[in-house]
Symmetry: D2
Amino acid sequence: MSQATATMQQCIENCQHCQTTCSQMLTETCLVEGGPHVQQDHVKAMLDCVAACQACVDFMSRHSAFHDRYCAACAEICRVCADSCQQIGGMDQCVDACRACQESCSAMAA
Amino acid sequence: MSQATATMQQCIENCQHCQTTCSQMLTETCLVEGGPHVQQDHVKAMLDCVAACQACVDFMSRHSAFHDRYCAACAEICRVCADSCQQIGGMDQCVDACRACQESCSAMAA
Amino acid sequence: MSQATATMQQCIENCQHCQTTCSQMLTETCLVEGGPHVQQDHVKAMLDCVAACQACVDFMSRHSAFHDRYCAACAEICRVCADSCQQIGGMDQCVDACRACQESCSAMAA
Amino acid sequence: MSQATATMQQCIENCQHCQTTCSQMLTETCLVEGGPHVQQDHVKAMLDCVAACQACVDFMSRHSAFHDRYCAACAEICRVCADSCQQIGGMDQCVDACRACQESCSAMAA
């Protein structure tokens, strides 16, 4: 596997992990805990993150020439989602998944 | 346009309308109102409905031989979402969109 | 409905129409005709267009603060897809849907 | 992790691997090789498989009560895609990914 392919493969895996972590924590933590966990901005950040990761995986796995746009948007959204999770607390898994995904996506978008 | 094609086209449009209505009302009504609007079961029903409609549109527009499975699942999910919206109240647009989508999807799945 | 909302609603509809038109024509025209219709670049452009429109609809209907990134990417991809369809020929419906979607998405991304 | 959760986690990973393998091989093998690789039925099977896996991951990671419908449909579609890939040849990676995904999805749907 070339270096370019290995980097993309790692980014796909980080996006997949971030997508399922955000989706699971939204459903099993945020919607159970309520309060700040269900504030509009936080839930929108979580849903944006799930959708951004999904689109990123799709464009990268198709080796689309446009994958960099989706990686750039995903990096931004992951940062916002990680910050929101950190502020609310009790979302460490989500913070970690978003930070790792943000880093990979930034590298792919460069 | 043949009758079969016209029926599918109508179903695609009902799914598209249901998807965007649920997505908009989740964000702009449920996440603003809070209370019963952000109960786990209700939000999951709304998210399932958005995803079910999206998958349905995708399989129908590709004229997939498997579209009937996705229409059958979408009809079930739309019924659950419409019931949940009706019970909570203030979600009439969503109830109407889900009922219309449920009817079309049931017909496509038959 | 405010002007901003009406413009977004029109963009959502143009994306939905572009998504289903590209998906249907890929399956029912390109994969039947073969030849230039199944060249790697053309099929990738069609698949990118379907995915870009789907992501755009999702981010706009959630009123995401990041919808402009997805609209900007979709406008670019629609232009490439329209050009590819025009060059191959026999894809007028697709060209029209992509051009309309590109125009709406450019306006939303501005 | 409970047994139920471990089984679902494994199924999510098999769906993710199947989705990206099919998407990559469609773009990098089928659209390059042409001939039987771009027959309508084969490409539709590949696209159905990508979409089925994507929907499955989404419903499972949200712990949706309806995930079994999406797993059942995905199992069927993976079988069709694996058979199509086997018949065409040169698609061993895809066959393996589809078979593993089919097995997991069948178990989740039971």
